[in-house]
């Protein structure tokens, strides 16, 4: 509860926590600790300053303190605009906790209005350096290697053929289900003209394994999950990017995803529960499996049953709360965008 008080003090704008902040941070704290945390009631308590929070967390390791700072950053990123005073305050807390974090700086750039520099920073610090660090650069490796995950896709017949071959696998295997996901929505296979970049396509295996839809809300869930499953805190870049694209509009385009804030997805009913549950599930996979899910060679698991691969990753099921809040499965029409639903209906031969 003390930690939550510190987070609330750090991210509260002048008028107090916004509804989105209170709901999202409360849901995350509850999902991760199993204890109900009401951020609204925390505001009635005395603020907890940076040094006091540092004392509270003194016995915790650097990784834990880093994740706490990310919760603060998340609390900032859902604000538009981010008040300079909030961004500066969060930086003060990070400093007191002994955490140097690129996303604190990105949030400060948003607060300043330097959106171009912020995106350059997020790309370099969050993705390029992270992918470069993780890039084994081994000859013959099946995991796509890219310094920039948003680099435009290249036509690659060999890669397309590997993905096309998934169609021949047995029903309910990972490869077959991923192929069905692409086929049912009319997505271009990696390697084909207009197909997804190979590195980014890795996350589509996670859509199937974690059972998240492919509309904007499903993308937020899947990247919240992937980001937290990454043992490197830089995995937070995924959620930070998706929020910038689909909630606040701080990012106009990544080349593959484009800004879409028509729905303001994070503040949609139930999304705080869904995001929180995705983070909880990601944490479990991080603790048990400990590998960036973008670095997994899914071709090795393509002919295995989806359930078997989930067990291998020790992936927990969605919570009842997330499902009750509308978390749709990857093959559930509710998990598709309107355009995807129309394509799927046409594919089935429906009149709709």
């Amino acid at each position: 509860m003390l930690v939550a008080r510190g987070i609330a003090t750090a991210v509260a704008p002048e008028g107090g926590l916004t509804d989105v902040q209170a709901e999202l941070l409360g849901a995350i704290a509850s999902a991760l600790t199993g204890v109900a945390v009401d951020y609204r009631s925390l505001e009635l308590l005395e603020p907890l300053g940076p040094e006091e929070l540092a004392d509270v967390l003194a016995a915790r390791d650097a990784g834990y303190r880093h994740r706490i700072v990310h919760h603060m950053v998340l609390g900032e990123l859902v604000l538009r605009p981010i008040p300079v005073v909030v961004a500066h305050r969060v930086a003060t807390y990070a400093h007191a906790l002994g955490v140097t974090d690129d996303f604190v700086r990105v949030a400060r750039r948003y607060a300043q209005g330097a959106y171009g520099l912020a995106w350059m920073d997020l790309q370099r610090s969050g993705f390029v350096e992270h992918v470069r660090d993780a890039d084994g650069d081994q000859p013959g490796a099946s995991v796509p290697s890219k310094l920039d995950p948003f680099e435009p896709a290249q036509v690659d017949p060999e890669l397309e053929a590997r993905w096309t071959a998934f169609a021949e696998l047995a029903p309910d295997t990972l490869g077959r289900r991923v192929w069905e996901m692409y086929d049912s929505r009319g997505f271009g296979l990696p390697g084909s003209p207009g197909g997804a970049p190979a590195y980014l396509a890795q996350h589509d295996f996670v859509h199937v394994l974690a059972d998240y839809g492919t509309n904007l809300k499903g993308e937020l869930e899947v990247f919240a999950f992937i980001g937290r499953a990454d043992p490197d805190p830089k995995g937070f870049a995924w959620l930070a990017t998706l929020i910038g694209l689909f909630e606040t509009g701080y990012i106009s385009s990544t080349g593959f995803f484009d800004r879409d804030v028509r729905e303001r997805s994070i503040r949609a009913p139930g999304m705080h529960q869904r995001i929180a549950d995705a983070i909880r599930r990601g944490k479990v996979v991080c603790d048990a499996y400990g590998v960036d899910l973008f670095d997994v060679d899914y071709s090795e698991f393509a002919d295995r049953a989806v359930g078997e691969v989930r067990e291998l990753l020790q992936m927990p099921a969605k919570s009842a709360g997330a499902i009750d809040s509308g978390s749709a499965g990857v093959f559930d029409p509710a998990g598709m965008s309107e355009k995807q639903r129309r394509f799927a209906a046409q594919r089935r031969g429906d009149d709709t």
């Binding site: 300079v84 500066h88 700086r105 300043q112 209005g113 330097a114 920073d121 370099r124």
Partner: protein
């Protein structure tokens, strides 16, 4: 209210390409450096006076206790800024003109 600040650098040159490359390099370096007031810049070509250009560098508040104008002054004192100015002088004709403005209004805030 956080008031932004702009610095304009007006100059004449035969080829703006090196200036654009320098500006891109500057932004790349700023993007992953410690945050300061610099927000970004634009390089504009004068349509009426061929060969005349202006760089508009924008500064904003990152610390509630430091104004954007003071952030710009701190930026001017940095060795890398001085180095940029030196390189600029090497590729332009004559001396650049510097002007400083407080922002009174903008559409997109």
């Amino acid at each position: 209210m956080n008031r932004n600040f702009c610095q304009t650098i007006t100059f004449r040159c035969a080829d703006p390409a090196p200036i654009i490359a320098m500006s891109e390099e500057w932004d790349r370096n700023q993007a992953t450096s410690d945050i300061m007031g610099y927000m970004g810049s634009r390089v504009l070509a004068d349509r009426e006076r061929l060969g005349y250009y202006v760089i508009i560098a924008e500064f904003g508040v990152v610390d509630p206790n430091v104004s954007a104008a003071d952030e710009a002054a701190r930026n001017n004192a940095r060795p890398e800024t001085q180095a940029f100015a030196d390189r600029l002088r090497e590729v332009i004709d004559g001396e650049p003109e510097w002007h400083h403005f407080d922002e009174l209004y903008r559409t997109d805030r």
